[in-house]
């Protein structure tokens, strides 16, 4: 057959005559550029901000021809100090993970549940936005805006206001609300910074951010130890932090508060406190002194297993130290047992009466940088109701701190109390962040779920509509980081690479949905010009900050002290007797409650503590290849001698059972833990078959945790709403 008569020429859109071809075949994607005989790689460094943990270290990305090769810390940043932890170094693993969510998808299988394939179908963004808007509008119409919730990081607060819903959910009641609330009522701020670099004395009550590689804190604690600072750790297991301590006390889990109460007793009764500082900067000292009189070192020794003489000596050393600090972050002794509120109140009081707030080497207030405020073009019409599905409206101080009662949401959805929830937008909140996830799965079956996510994790599997998010390496941000803000600092990031596939940022996604619902005028403006406007407070643009190295310190790098008579507490001072707690009818002083002490474990029973590997952030990094190689699965640590009694060998599978669930997990035998306690690193046991590295590896300690109802929560922690995940005993037996 002659070429001229070939049909496929028509398809190619070209004509052939007399053996020659007329025309050129157009390409859809590739564009002509001047060709280069030899090519030189175009290497540039881009300014970034790590998005893995809340420390948000400033960093630099080495980009070759548009491909991100390596991430490094930015040495201008007081948080990263030029370093990145294993997690930060592994960030590229999520950017380039083939498992990543790439396009909007809908489930075509209506059945939802553990082990159920959603049978996804790729759809266009137009279809995705239309579907989301249509569903949410229908629900709003029929059940009210309050039937729609947002899960995750308060990133949808403006959207919720626009639809009138109070149901703004975050995970903090399983994390750090005890610290936040205690700090709020006593200090008028939600946290303080341990000034490790200059400190002489560190007390840790289960605090292990050194072992979790929280960048600035690990680096500066190492510096403190190098300088010869004393470190005393109370922890049922020999954590990495404890492994560096001069003294380690394997305290009975859930009793740490007794130690601080007794130390307060010693310091006050022996008049070792800084009377001038107390008079000038604190209120309620006499009431505190009265309360702690009953907590003798002998009493504490009985509860905690720490000898009374050591409690007395450590109290004296702490008071005598030139500077001393008790770091507190999250999910340490404080958050997981019901006496935790007393523990944090006691820690703050200890530092306050020894004059260690706003003292070099003590506890510093966060000096967060300011930015120009942005607000929506129009004010939202207001909430339909203040009654929340999670019941947080019944915990006024928690609510003022901006947090939710995370654990109670499952029961509330299942029982449709106080009213039915019908839809949720879930952003950056994995199912494994939820205690007792099986209960949450049942609850989520009742909702229309829009999941904005990067990885195809369990939450994506439960979603009706999956919308692919950009990573922090593909987006720009202006970030005032507060974790270790000894002085105000702002970091700016630019996209290191352009967003891959069809991923879009959360703000773009929400704006598009809101537009279709006719409510986008109520959203906070976003985008590059808004970020520049935020920075214009300093007469700078993002470009300027990047030109200055990505990080600016608008007030210099000198640490300035806060006036401790001008705090945001009602008295303006540190409130040892927290009047805000008293106002709400709560106990304003650190107080021991006997009924919240766990019974002593019988044979085969154990206290449970949980931890996290330094290489993994919670349950979100198990699928990152480089850190997966280091810790592919988790285990339960059991004391060697106890294991011998139970006939459990190292590496053998065991069943760990709590009143709320059970898991099968490998045993790791160790001497570095109390004989009556087991420890499980969190984040494993993923059952999403879409996660090629993480699927089916290890087990989820969350399966052992309760998801307490609002009533149960109010009984146990009416102030901070903590779930008290580890307030239970587990049984361990051979599998």
């Amino acid at each position: 057959m002659e070429l001229t008569r070939r049909n496929f020429l028509k398809y190619l859109g070209i004509a052939a005559a007399a053996g020659t071809v007329q025309g050129k075949i157009a390409l859809d994607l590739l564009r002509p550029v001047p060709s280069q005989a030899t090519t030189e790689s175009n290497v540039i460094y881009k300014a970034g901000v790590c998005g893995i943990c809340g420390m948000n270290c400033a960093m630099k990305g080495k980009v070759v021809d548009g491909v991100l090769i390596k991430l490094e810390g930015n040495e201008l940043d007081q948080q990263s100090g030029g370093s990145l932890c294993a997690k930060g170094n592994a960030g590229i693993n999520i950017l380039y993970n083939p498992d990543r969510l790439k396009y909007p998808m809908v489930r075509t299988n209506p059945e939802k549940g553990i082990g159920v394939d959603p049978k996804w179908k790729r759809i266009s963004w137009e279809e995705a936005f239309d579907l989301a808007a249509q569903k949410l509008s229908e629900i709003k119409e029929q059940y009210g805006g309050k039937a729609i919730a947002w899960f995750g990081g308060h990133k949808g607060t403006d959207f919720l206001k626009a639809i009138g819903s109070p149901n703004d959910f975050c995970h903090h009641s399983t994390c750090d609300t005890v610290r936040e609330v205690a700090c709020e009522v006593m200090l008028g701020t939600s946290a303080y910074i341990p000034d490790f670099a200059e400190t002489d004395y560190i007390l840790s009550f289960g605090w292990d951010q050194f072992g979790k590689a929280k960048n600035a804190w690990a680096r500066l604690m190492a510096k403190a130890l190098d300088r010869g600072a004393k470190l005393v750790v109370f922890d049922p297991r020999l954590s990495p932090t404890a492994s560096k301590a001069q003294e380690w006390y394997p305290v009975v889990p859930g009793t740490d508060h007794a130690l601080v109460l007794a130390m307060l007793n010693v310091i006050i009764s022996e008049k070792l406190y800084d009377a001038e500082y107390v008079a000038k900067y604190t209120t309620g000292f006499d009431k505190l002194a009265e309360e702690v009189r009953k907590y003798s070192p002998e009493w504490a020794a009985e509860l905690t297993g720490v000898p009374a003489a050591d409690i007395v000596r450590i109290a004296r050393e702490f008071a005598a130290a030139k500077s001393a600090v008790i770091p507190c972050h999250k999910r340490e002794a404080a958050q997981v047992h019901p006496n935790g509120m007393a523990l944090v109140q006691g820690m703050i009081a200890l530092m306050a009466i020894t004059g260690n707030f706003e003292r070099r080497g003590g506890a510093m207030f966060r000096k967060k940088a300011k930015l120009n405020k942005v607000s929506p073009p129009e004010e939202a019409p207001g909430l339909e109701t203040t009654i929340r599905v999670d019941g947080a409206d019944r915990l006024p101080i928690l609510l003022e701190c901006g947090h939710a009662v995370y654990q109670s949401i499952a029961d509330a959805i299942l029982e449709e109390k106080p009213y039915p929830l019908k839809a949720a937008i879930i952003y950056k909140q994995g199912l494994f962040s939820m205690p007792n996830p099986a209960k949450f799965v049942e609850a989520f079956k009742k909702l229309f779920i829009i999941n904005i996510n990067i990885q195809p994790d369990e939450m994506a599997l439960l979603a009706d509509l999956v919308l692919p998010d950009v990573t922090y390496m593909e987006s720009a941000t202006v970030s005032v980081r507060k974790y270790h803000a000894l002085y105000p600092q702002i970091a700016v990031s630019e996209p290191m690479v352009k967003p891959m596939y069809e991923t879009k940022s959360r703000s773009t996604i929400i704006r598009e949905i809101a537009k279709r619902m006719g409510i986008d005028q109520y959203l906070n403006p976003s985008g590059s010009s808004v970020r520049d406007q935020q920075l214009s407070l300093y007469g700078l643009t993002q470009k300027d900050v990047i030109a200055q190295g990505g990080v600016i310190s608008p007030e210099g790098t000198e640490v300035k002290y806060k006036d401790l008579t001008k705090l945001s507490t009602p008295s303006g001072k540190i409130e040892l007797y927290a009047t805000r707690l008293a106002e709400h009818g709560y106990n304003p002083l650190p107080t021991h409650r006997d009924e919240w002490i766990l019974p002593k474990p019988k044979a085969g029973e154990f206290y449970l503590v949980t931890t996290r590997f330094a290489t993994h952030r919670h349950a979100q990094m198990q699928n990152y290849r480089w850190v997966h190689e280091i810790y592919p699965e988790n285990y339960v640590s059991i004391n060697k001698k106890t294991a011998a009694i139970l006939g459990i060998a190292d590496g053998e599978e065991v069943i760990v059972e709590s009143p709320y669930g059970q898991i099968k997990i490998k045993a790791k035998l160790t001497e570095a833990i109390r004989p009556d306690t087991v420890c499980i690193p969190h984040g494993y046991g993923h059952w999403s078959k879409y996660l090629s590295n993480a699927y089916s590896k290890g087990a989820n300690d969350g399966d052992l945790a309760p998801a307490r109802s609002i009533e149960e929560t109010l009984e146990m922690d009416p102030v901070a709403g903590s779930n008290n995940d580890c307030h239970l005993l587990v049984k361990v037996r051979k599998a």
């Binding site: 070429l3 070939r6 049909n7 496929f8 020429l9 398809y11 190619l12 070209i14 052939a16 053996g19 020659t20 071809v21 075949i25 390409l27 859809d28 994607l29 590739l30 564009r31 002509p32 550029v33 001047p34 060709s35 280069q36 005989a37 090519t39 790689s41 070759v64 021809d65 491909v67 991100l68 090769i69 590229i92 693993n93 950017l95 380039y96 993970n97 083939p98 498992d99 790439k102 396009y103 998808m105 075509t108 394939d117 959603p118 049978k119 996804w120 179908k121 790729r122 759809i123 195809p456 352009k498 967003p499 891959m500 596939y501 069809e502 290849r625 480089w626 078959k689 879409y690 090629s692």
Partner: protein
Amino acid sequence: MAAMGEKDLASIALVRRLYEVFRGPDAAGVAELCAGNWVSDVEETLAVLGLARPATWHSLLQQLGTGCHNREQMLEELSVEHTRLFVNAYGGTPAPPYASVYLNDQPMLGGQVTLQVIEWYKRAGVALPPDYPEPPDYLPVELEFVIHLIQSIPEAGTGQAASQLRLVQREFWQDHFRLWIPQFVARTTEESQHPLYTASAEILGAFVQQRAVLV
């Protein structure tokens, strides 16, 4: 200027037809399938190239015969299967359409393989538009690059430009394309539950095997 021969043109047409399949289904694509244009172009180009129709060809024709009665459902089925095979699948995506996944020392996109592909594109005088969202080693992009090389080499004549293009073509095919496509094809044919993807993968495999010897 040397003109493209019949086989070159047939190769381009075939690769473009495969490109349409791997890029993902849409209503226009289904219309082309149901009108018979896709099938007749592929059959004709295979004949010109001396390649056999794949084993699954008959079942594809049958499927189209019945499936085209309900084009909407066919589009739905193709979309779900395309998503499962190439985007995100329960139990692991069988055949991610990115070269780096197969060739990098680390099972990730990006890295050396992507950089190498970018370099070949540069040397061959093409680039992706800055706002194009897929990575440079995405199968549809590489298929277009194959078309670009087939078309531009005769165009470039006999000078230095032409020998550079031929060198790029040889490197791209020998060090890259012929190495990962068979793996991609094997995974696709093994897992595919729709004859359009099985047949297209088989044809791609046969085409690459034949042409790899020539370039």
